[in-house]
């Protein structure tokens, strides 16, 4: 089943929607040379057609509302509907960012209290809520670390990133003007401390780490790593993609991290929106506080205000104060869960991952020893003899009504299948998922041709991505 493009359904003769007329007439006229010459080819559709078009498109999607998303490092958990209602309150959605502080006291208090809660959860001194997404938060933190070193008269040019890191880590480091140095993972899936020692020097500005790492393993030598990094004067950066393993269990700040980014769209249940908007707050220890983006939210005598007077700030990382609507959602979630609920959420997430991991023992390879934290990485390498790849496993899951795990990441595991079940999937769902994976493994052995032809019952089959990239068609054209 496919749906035509809105442009293909457009009819030139359709009248425009009824809109207000000016009701006043000014003496001025827009000069001709400023006017548009060619009308943009926007579609002309009636409202009933528009609504049906988008409803049909919606029906072509998998989503967390209907399907289980075992997407490793993405933390696809249930998005509470109360959060959506809260963000739509007129008292939030109807605020201009340039209203006087005394007319937005509730909004500023919400931001202040969210900052306090997040700081407690991750163990830092202050947090900026400005970054719009995780990668944006990474870059913001690196800019602060860069400003910190410069303020001490040090010109540090390198950032160390493990070979298991998310691609955003090296990209964010490069965007901040750093040279990226890669550190190896050892046989146990953790950072190779010997290799790290060899790569640390006074040229290094920071080590970026995810903990638990992208294999879902806790970096158990983290306290030694922190000491080594700090001994060279470098800072330790925490990629918060995997924080869902740790709420109420262990805090990055207590592990020795100096800067921490959080993905509110992962750990704190704000919806992914088909690829955003998210929010990527960054928490820092005291030494980095002067460099926070401005404005910050301050409380004086019970009154809240935006503080722009921060002379050592790195400046702004986006317009206004961040994705405020997402902040409202995360705040609502934290209120509802409380410290006890967040702790149980992380424990349930760890339990679910280990349960699925154990259930797949003997079906897929799991190259690193457990227990794991909130996710684990399996490998489809054992199916290679039948010509089956991780991609085929992914497509087989789509055919069986599950979204696919993250595949081919982390790069250090061949044919990687990265599974993160989260705390909001019932045992029945986890069991059904395991059954589906076992069925796929059996199909791979008995009829690999059939598996490679899946999915068969989705709106489209496997798409020709090679020709899409070779001859890119990125838009509909009027002719």
């Amino acid at each position: 089943m496919t749906e035509p493009l809105s442009f293909e359904m457009s009819r030139a003769s359709l009248p425009p929607p009824r809109l207000p007329v000016a009701g006043v007439r000014s003496n001025s006229q827009l000069p001709d040379e400023l006017r548009r010459r060619r009308e943009p080819a926007l579609p002309r559709l009636s409202e009933p057609e528009i609504m049906r078009h988008y409803s049909r498109l919606a029906s072509l999607n998998y989503s967390i509302s209907e399907q289980f998303y075992p997407l490793g490092s993405c933390t696809m958990k249930y998005n509470p509907v109360a959060n959506e209602e809260a963000a739509r309150f007129d008292g939030f959605a109807g605020l201009h960012p340039y209203q006087d502080d005394d007319t937005v006291q509730g909004a500023l208090e919400l931001m202040w209290r969210l900052e306090q809660s997040l700081a407690e959860i991750v163990g830092v001194d202050r947090i900026t809520l400005q970054p719009a997404a995780g990668a944006h938060g990474e870059w913001t933190a690196l800019r602060m670390i860069q400003a910190y070193h410069r303020s001490r008269g040090e010109h540090r040019t390198e950032v160390i990133v493990p070979d298991s890191a998310h691609g955003t880590n090296p990209a964010s480091a490069a965007l901040s003007g750093f040279t990226v140095v890669e550190v190896r993972s050892g046989a146990d899936g953790r950072v190779d401390v010997g290799d790290l020692d060899a790569k640390l020097s006074t040229r290094v500005a920071a080590l970026m780490l995810t903990n638990p790492n992208t294999l879902g393993l806790f970096e158990r030598q983290i306290l030694d790593v922190a000491e080594m990094v700090h001994a060279t004067g470098a800072k330790l950066y925490y990629d918060g993609a995997n924080l869902n393993a740790l709420m109420g269990i262990c805090r990055p700040g207590d592990m020795g991290f100096d800067a921490v980014h959080l993905n509110l769209h992962k750990t704190f249940t704000t919806p992914h929106g088909g690829g955003g908007p998210g929010a990527g707050p960054v928490g820092v220890k005291a030494e980095l506080v002067p460099f926070l983006p401005r404005p910050t939210v301050e409380r004086d005598d019970g009154r809240f205000r935006l503080d722009y007077d921060r002379p050592r700030s790195i400046g702004r990382v986006r317009s206004f104060y961040g994705n405020f609507g997402m902040l409202v959602r995360a705040f609502t979630y934290i209120l509802a869960m409380g410290g006890d609920g967040l702790t149980q959420a992380s424990k349930d997430a760890v339990l679910a991952a280990n349960y699925v991991r154990e259930s797949l023992e003997g079906w897929l390879e799991v190259p690193h020893r457990g227990p794991c934290m909130h996710e684990f990485v399996a490998s489809a390498r054992n199916l290679g003899a039948d010509g089956v790849k991780a991609l085929d496993v992914a497509k087989g899951l789509l055919e069986r009504g599950f979204y696919a795990p993250t595949v081919y990441f982390p790069l250090i595991v061949p044919e990687a299948v990265m599974i993160e079940p989260t705390e909001t999937e019932s045992k029945a769902t986890l069991d059904a998922f395991v059954d589906a994976l076992r069925e796929i493994v059996e199909l791979a052995r008995n009829d690999p041709e059939e598996l490679r032809a899946e999915p068969r019952s989705l709106p489209v089959g496997r798409l020709d991505e090679v020709s899409a990239a070779r001859n890119p068609v990125l838009r509909w054209s009027p002719d």
Partner: protein
């Protein structure tokens, strides 16, 4: 506890399967010295209590009636058709992930393909990407594209470009290691890009063609920051040969929401396509020839190219882009033109009436504007307070960003400001007489404006 799904016996069965007694037995890799004992946070609340608490915070904000908003500066009140929220609140859209698995994501992918087309058409450019965070980061990304494309290390900001956008640009430039200069006098043969806003932050039209020619004469790229509603009426970047067009899409169906989430867009000439940051959706076919859409040209992106990616962006603002698509599809070309035209007419009537008040005058009477315009007035602070007391969100004082524009207030009109609302605003300002009173100390003054940003 809310949102958790297990009964106690579910947990026990899973623990049994693992052969452990508690989850703590699974946390053996965490050093005991750093285990958290208890988070210092309040206990969880029922939904009823949670929502009462959140609603109470919402109630401590002042919401101005939309028809009485006369403030813009990057965030605007516009009419939002009900269709927009009806579509974006479909869980199949808002709870989906980035469409990595195309067979299970055709709805999101096709919606993005339509968004890319809508933005390309609107800006008159060849191609657009799937969205960026906001207008400010879109500008910074465009500047970085120009730096890479030209191999030059300096960009020039011309005219009054949104001061927060420039501040964000500086933050990116400072990390990446290129210079930002303000003023066209800096344009030279080492300039990577000339960046301007049309209409500019004060609402005034820049000479977009002239600035583009200036850029091209120096071998630099021309980067236009544009207002998407304005493009229903005025010349788009493609018609004056700009190389990259960026902007903020909030006006296309998104509520003000204290500044976000909104949506940045970026569009360019076809030969710059591979330098674009972020996601791109392309059209292709499956084995049986059915059309489908996929994320494409991913070799530019961080998850493939890592340190050599064109940008670090991963999550963008897909759902906001969907809102913009629904809005533009609802309006169509004539609807969009009418919205822009009504805004133009009303803003010009407001400008005529405001400048007839003694003590209020247009700050740049010889410059053309669209639907925002700067006026110079006495006693800015008292005037805005008087308006506020009357339930009106008055114009934006801009002296906090531009000392030479102390005493200048930018007023904005859109289709939500009906003629009665305009009369109300003008009535309050002229009856109060505050604007006309000659100040006792020194000339025109904003008395500091609000906030005071360095």
């Amino acid at each position: 506890m809310p949102y958790l799904v297990h009964a106690a016996d579910d947990r026990e069965q899973m623990l049994d399967a693992l052969g452990v007694r508690s989850v703590d037995d699974l946390l053996v890799d965490i050093p005991a010295s750093i285990r958290t004992h208890e988070l210092d946070l309040p206990e969880g609340l029922s939904e009823q209590e949670t929502m009462r608490c959140v609603r109470e915070l919402a109630g401590r904000n002042r919401v101005f009636e939309d028809r009485l908003w006369f403030r813009g500066g990057g965030v605007y009140r516009r009419f939002i058709p009900a269709a927009v929220a009806a579509v974006t609140s479909k869980p199949e859209f808002y709870t989906a992930y980035t469409p990595y698995q195309p067979e299970a994501s055709q709805g999101t992918l096709q919606a993005i393909f339509e968004f890319q087309t809508l933005i390309a058409e609107l800006t008159g450019m060849d191609v657009a990407n799937a969205s960026l965070y906001d207008g400010a980061t879109a500008l910074a990304e465009a500047a970085m594209m120009a730096v890479v494309d030209t191999g030059r290390q300096k960009v020039v900001v011309a005219g009054h470009l949104h001061p927060e956008y420039v501040e964000v640009l500086r933050c990116f430039a400072d990390g990446r290691g290129f210079d930002v200069r303000v003023g066209v006098e800096h344009v030279a043969t080492d300039t990577a890009a000339v960046l301007f806003q049309q209409p500019n932050f004060l609402g005034l039209f820049e000479d977009a063609s002239g600035l583009t020619e200036l850029a091209h004469r120096s071998g630099a790229l021309s980067v236009a920051t544009v207002d998407p509603i304005s493009l229903g009426l005025i010349a788009p970047p493609g018609e004056y040969d700009a190389d990259i067009a960026v902007g903020e899409g909030q006006q296309l169906g998104l509520p003000p929401s204290f500044g976000g989430p909104h949506v940045g867009f970026i569009a360019c000439r076809r030969d710059l396509m591979r330098r674009l940051p972020g996601r791109l959706v392309g059209s292709t076919v499956d084995a049986s020839g059915r059309r489908g859409f996929v994320l494409t040209l991913t070799a530019r992106e961080q998850h493939i190219r890592r340190a050599k990616a064109t940008s670090n962006i991963c999550t963008n603002h897909s759902l906001c882009a969907l809102a913009a698509s629904v809005y533009l599809t609802y309006m169509g070309p004539e609807g969009l033109r009418q919205i822009a035209d009504v805004s133009y007419q009303r803003a010009h009537v407001l400008a005529e009436q405001l400048s007839a008040i003694p003590g209020v005058e247009l700050a740049f009477p010889d410059r053309q504007f669209l639907n925002e315009f700067p006026v110079r007035m006495f006693h800015v602070e008292q005037s805005l307070t008087r308006l506020r007391d009357a339930g009106i969100l008055g114009g934006l004082p801009v002296g906090r960003w531009y000392p030479e524009l102390d005493g200048v207030v930018v007023f904005c009109c859109t289709e939500v400001n009906d003629p009665d609302a305009i009369q109300t605003l003008v009535g309050v300002l002229s009856e109060s007489g505050v604007a006309a009173q000659v100040p006792t100390t020194s000339g025109r003054s904003s008395e500091g404006g609000q906030g005071g940003q360095g």
